[in-house]
Amino acid sequence: MAKPIIKKLSAASFLDGSVVYENDARIGGEIAGNVEISDLSEPRSRYNITVGPVYYGPDSTVVTAGTSSWYSPTVSALVFIAPRDMTVLKIEAFHYSDGGSYDNVDDDNKLLVIAETAARADGVSGAYKETRSVTLEPLVPVSPWVHLGYASVDDTESTGVYTSSDISKSVSEGDVIRVVLTAAGNTSKTQAEVVVTLMVAEDHAE
């Protein structure tokens, strides 16, 4: 938004009513529907994107629970394309525990909730599942994905475990954002229900 350009009236000027009217009309015209959001202070919104609770654990198409060799696979709980430039501010993970027998989270069976981004051309088709080598460090991103940040769930409480991590990284409009769930720890046979929350900030509508 440009500021209204008004005509100068100096002290020695004749008080020209038409100029006064024109100046007032320009100011009024800016008020009447021409004030743009982007020119206000605080032009951005923050909000949360929530997913879950989702179950994380053995996928029978990848591993077989109950055998000694299985590890919980890497899967995405959330995939979306950034509708406009945005900043991912925080990732939150809440391990919801209802005492089910499938619950297996501790220091040897961690659940990492990782926010990643990639260019759209590379990102969508392979965004949902990844056959990651168990020997691969889970916090090393697999190309083309770039890590934004992560939260680690590695403890159990009857009342649930809440962890969060500040991120504050920018993502361009059209890029893919995903939240990956992956196992870590000595055993990496993680099973859990988790609620994932992504906090983002973006400009108000253009």
């Binding site: 100046n23 020119d39 605080e42 939150e92």
Partner: protein
Amino acid sequence: MSTLPAITTFSNIVGHSENPTNASTVYNNDAALAGAFGSLEMSDSIANDNSPMLIGPIRVPIVATSVVALYRWTAPAAVELWELHVSPVSAVDGTTSDSTLSGSAYATISVYNAATLVASVEPQSLTTSYTASMSASGDRTVSDGAVITVQISGGVGAPKYHANISILAYTKHRE
């Protein structure tokens, strides 16, 4: 807060000795008004400076009446909690035959602003949606960065069902 333009008063009597209505005074007033554009603040100068925000929905099994947290989240900006919605669903273990919810078997589902109870509902029917207004609560205002918890905070008997839970809130625009 943005500074509102200072407007000089003047008389409509030409040649008034104290506040002469001269061209430069008129111009200065207009210039002050025009100068305010670009420095208006969302929170101070604009009406309706908040947006609705739906938290959730989450769908969780309700299988206890002891204190169990169902969901925690951090307020992304200053937030006013407005309504709690809970809709029971008769689904447990993939079937509908094992659900229990009645006037003698129900859980209290509550919203906490930090450690302060804001609102609760006690669903007792699988065919009714429950709403608790938080709009009149003195504890509905959540600070930027505060943690909200939805939890089971008590109940009666042994309920067993799935709850779809969402919270309507209003969040301030902000940088």
